[in-house]
Amino acid sequence: MSEIFGYPIPVILGQLMLGLVNGSFYAMLSLGLAVIFGLLGVVNFAHGAFYMLGAFAALIGLETFGVNYWFALVLSPLVVGIFGIILERLLLRHLYKLDPLYGLLLTFGLALIFEGVMRDQFGSGGQGYPVPDALQGSFNLGFMILPIYRAWVIVASITVCLVTWFVIERTRLGATLRAATENPKLVQAFGINVPLMVMLTYGAGIALAALAGVLSAPVIQVSPLMGSSLVVVVFAVVVIGGMGSILGAIVSGLALGMVEGFTKVIYPEASNIVVFVIMAIVLVLRPAGLFGRE
């Protein structure tokens, strides 16, 4: 029993493990997208760009100000989140009453601008971000050598995802938020500042993307294009999970990362498209997504 479908088990387990690492990033990014869409109705195409800015904030912090990784985990989402809030106040706010398409176009344009500016400043090549000393080294899992940092990514992102889910689905604050999106006028009548909540929600969603960016910096090279290559997959993940479903985003993010890993064993050439094939099937069979409400 050392093989499944003719593939050695260690190979499958190894790829599934790496898939779980990628899935962690998908989950965190799609979670932010789902929060923003579910509560604001905005299709935030700039999400990948904020993820990229998060990684760059960490890199610039390290190289220019000597801010270490652990502080960057807090500071970078904070800085990028505030930047997101400023954009929400200045630009996005005016589009809430219009068709969601306008928000999509605006955020897409913003993403292109951010990418262009960063490319101009840093070039399109990637720059390395060192793994923090405390997370150097690796575990021997028997079937593979797993660098400690990657294990940390999985643990950190699942924790963040669960906390976010808990806040929105199980706390009073979350209940108010959901009520505010359901019927803003009524909630406002209870004396709750709805525009403030919306603004902070957007900021929190962006901060999640930036946090994913910091986490990914030591795994992949920090480059201006790191977001755009990921955001398309993440959108597919959100569609599969069900637009706006928090739990759907988390579960399908992790699951699709592993499906990708498994595809790399069986037919590597298909690993880049398997997510989109699944998206097409889900859209045909369950247009609202696996966890969406019809």
Binding site: Q15, L18, V21, S124, I145, M226
Partner: protein, 400 residues
């Protein structure tokens, strides 16, 4: 009347715009450099190549045939269409006389078509693909520093002879990677080893982990890295991180001193690689490198040194024939011997390959390295004819 004056204005305007190009042809000799200035190969040549070419122009005196030598530089971003259109633009608007081709075989193949069409000599330096002097050859192209054939003849044969018989390749998925893998696999087979397969990786991939696990599953003895620049350093680092280098011996099919410098000797120690030039080879290379280092604060890669040598070779040819006429200069280039700090007695063959010795090197350990940038020890010097092999007959202008 009004129509007439408007068209007269248009005529005047177009004359005004056309003038600089015409003037360039009359008073200047224009050398252009089209290279990856910001991507995965930027450290291999990039700005260092610009400085090396400028050194050659300065050493030549800044003028040739009484005309000022002008140097242009552009970033092709590893996009063949961008490289070719820049070349065309310079040929049409700036009267470019010579183009130095930087990294990326795909881009150089696209630019060679423009060289033929516009009759402007192209010296491909950073591109490795041997197809440039075979299927994709051009009467106006020279391949200067090294190619996939000579790299495979150096590194792959050295490793097979050491006992690394079974190979699995990690291949950069475009013209360069596939040509390098094919050349290496054929050298491996010829020497009694075998190739167990390959995984193709897109150019500029940042996370090599899953590709490396595929390679590991092959159980081959040797991990052939058919990639270059940052792709090479990233894949080697990841191979160590995932403990793969403990089971498989990595073979650097193309590594530059810039890569070794960024990896550090602790990581790169023991790697066998093939190079066309090394800064610490002899008194000439050391003297030149001292000047280059003063400008760039780095030692030059073989390609950056070749930028210097190629620029000088072209200017010498122009001086010898007393003209920038492409046909005359190309004929002279293929006739003259090249003697400078890059090569002694080098010559350009009918198919465009510059024949010169190639050096098989091994990266020193930290203990062996005595001074900054003391990275390589020489294992073997291959004569040019041995390294580059005979003319294959695949290039239409060079008979077997």
């Amino acid at each position: 009347m009004r129509y007439f004056s408007r068209s007269a204005l248009a005529l005047a305007l177009s004359a005004a715009f056309a003038a600089p190009a015409a003037m360039a042809a009359a008073n200047e000799v224009v050398i252009g450099d089209i290279d990856d200035m910001s991507g995965v190969y930027a450290d291999v040549i990039g700005q260092g190549g610009v400085e090396a070419a400028k050194m050659a122009i300065a050493d030549f005196g800044g003028t040739v045939l009484g005309k000022k030598i002008v140097f242009l530089s552009a970033d092709h971003q590893n996009k063949p269409d961008l490289g070719a259109s820049k070349f065309r633009e310079w040929a049409d608007q700036n009267g470019v006389n010579l183009v130095l081709g930087g990294s990326n075989t795909g881009v150089s193949i696209a630019m060679s078509k423009v060289a033929t069409q516009k009759k402007v000599p192209l010296i491909a330096i950073g591109a490795a693909g041997a197809s440039l002097t075979n299927e994709d050859c051009s009467p106006y192209m020279v391949h200067y520093a090294y190619d996939t054939t000579s790299l495979a003849n150096g590194t792959a044969s050295a490793i097979v002879k050491e006992g690394g018989k079974s190979w699995y390749f990690l291949t950069a998925d475009y013209a360069f990677g596939t040509q390098l893998r094919e050349a290496a696999a054929s050298v491996v087979t010829k020497n009694g080893g075998k190739s167990l397969g390959e995984v193709r990786v897109p150019l500029g991939t940042t996370d090599f982990s899953s590709f490396l696990l595929q390679a590991q599953a092959s159980k081959a003895q040797v991990l052939g890295l058919a990639n270059a620049g940052q792709d090479f350093t990233n894949s080697l680092k990841a191979a160590q991180e995932f403990g793969i280098t403990k089971q498989m011996k990595p073979a650097a099919l193309l590594a530059f001193i810039s890569d070794i410098h960024s990896l550090g000797l602790k990581t790169a120690e023991g790697l066998v690689l093939t190079t066309g030039w090394y800064w610490d080879l002899n008194a000439d290379t050391r003297a030149w490198s001292k000047r280059y280092f003063a400008i760039t604060k780095k030692e030059a890669t073989m390609n950056q040194a070749a930028y210097y040598s190629a620029t000088l070779a072209y200017l010498n040819a122009v001086k010898a024939v007393g003209s920038t006429d492409a046909d005359k200069v190309m004929a002279q280039l293929k006739k003259a011997k090249i003697n400078d700090m890059f090569v002694k007695g080098g010559y350009i063959r009918a198919d465009g390959v510059m024949i010169h010795p190639m050096y098989v090197m091994q990266v020193k350990s930290q203990a062996e390295s005595k001074y900054p940038w003391d990275y390589y020890k020489l294992i073997k010097t291959m004569a040019g004819e041995e390294a580059f092999g005979p003319i294959t007959g695949k290039c239409s202008i060079a008979k077997k």
